[in-house]
């Protein structure tokens, strides 16, 4: 196992959040773009979801790129919406709707 794509906060026939990580030595090969594409397609086609959404840290350009390549749209920036190690960060919200 070199990484993972999850669907979370699953609401049947409606929506789910998508999240993912990949071991660093596999970065830069387009693996995550394909993995996210396949899982999103699974969510829409098999699970019959209408909306798949994701959050990224503003500094995480790589993750944003994965979503953009897969047709996710940026819906907004949620200010100070996450805490990590006692610090507040903005959260960028992305979604793909069919």
């Amino acid at each position: 196992m070199v990484g993972c794509v999850d669907l979370m906060h699953y609401v049947p026939r409606h929506k789910a959040e998508i999240g993912y990580w990949l071991g660093r030595r596999f970065w830069g090969k387009g693996i995550m773009s394909v993995a996210v594409r396949e899982v999103a397609t699974f969510a829409f086609k098999k699970l019959k979801l209408k909306r798949v959404y994701a959050y990224t840290f503003p500094a995480n350009k790589g993750s944003a790129r994965v979503l953009q390549k897969n047709g996710f749209h940026r819906e907004g920036v949620l200010r100070k919406s996450v805490v990590k190690k006692g610090k507040f960060f903005n959260d960028i919200l992305w979604a793909k709707v069919i």
Partner: protein, 174 residues
């Protein structure tokens, strides 16, 4: 923590079991149902008692997950401003409703302003956020008046009457 805020026109205070009747009477309105997600219509006395079982124990907790302020006017529960999904020292969602006969008097803007200030000052939160349905201009106005900023439009993010709806997310941060 003491959850009472008094103003000239109304009092914000915790719900009590004895509010069931006035709550059920004042919230039972299709126009309140229309733009909210968790308020049934018709609203029965049993909906009020079920609701109280969920929210009244929270007032006593040191880390409550929700705090609902009843808006008391003329001896009745005329509305509510609620904080939900509270994450201690971080954030909370805010929501509200008001009996139709009190609309247009600036009651909700005043109440939301007070509860938001309470969330920042007393509860030490850094973010208060709200969702509104796109056509609900009045609710958006309430938030704008208190300095909430629109952060985004969530496409088909919520379901109402079996239909998917878009919603705005608003927030005020400190």
């Amino acid at each position: 923590m003491k959850y009472v805020i008094k103003t000239k026109r109304f009092t914000l205070r915790p719900y009590r079991k004895s509010d069931a009747l006035s709550l059920a009477r004042n919230i039972n309105d299709p126009l309140i149902y229309r733009y909210t997600l968790h308020i049934p219509y018709p609203y029965r006395l049993s909906d009020a008692t079920k609701w109280f079982k969920k929210i009244i124990p929270e007032y006593r907790k040191t880390r409550p997950t929700c705090i609902h302020f009843a808006i008391e006017m003329d001896g009745e529960v005329a509305g509510c401003v609620g904080l939900s999904n509270i994450e201690p020292r971080h954030k909370t969602e805010i929501g509200y409703w008001l009996a139709r006969r009190y609309w247009g008097q600036g009651i909700v803007p005043e109440a939301v302003k007070l509860v938001t200030a309470f969330a920042f000052k007393k509860m030490k939160l850094r973010r208060v956020y709200a969702y509104t349905f796109v056509p609900n201009k009045q609710s958006a106005r309430v938030l704008q008046k208190d300095g909430f900023k629109r952060e985004g439009l969530l496409v088909e993010a919520t379901k109402k009457d079996g239909k998917l709806r878009d919603e705005y997310i608003w927030a005020k941060v400190k």
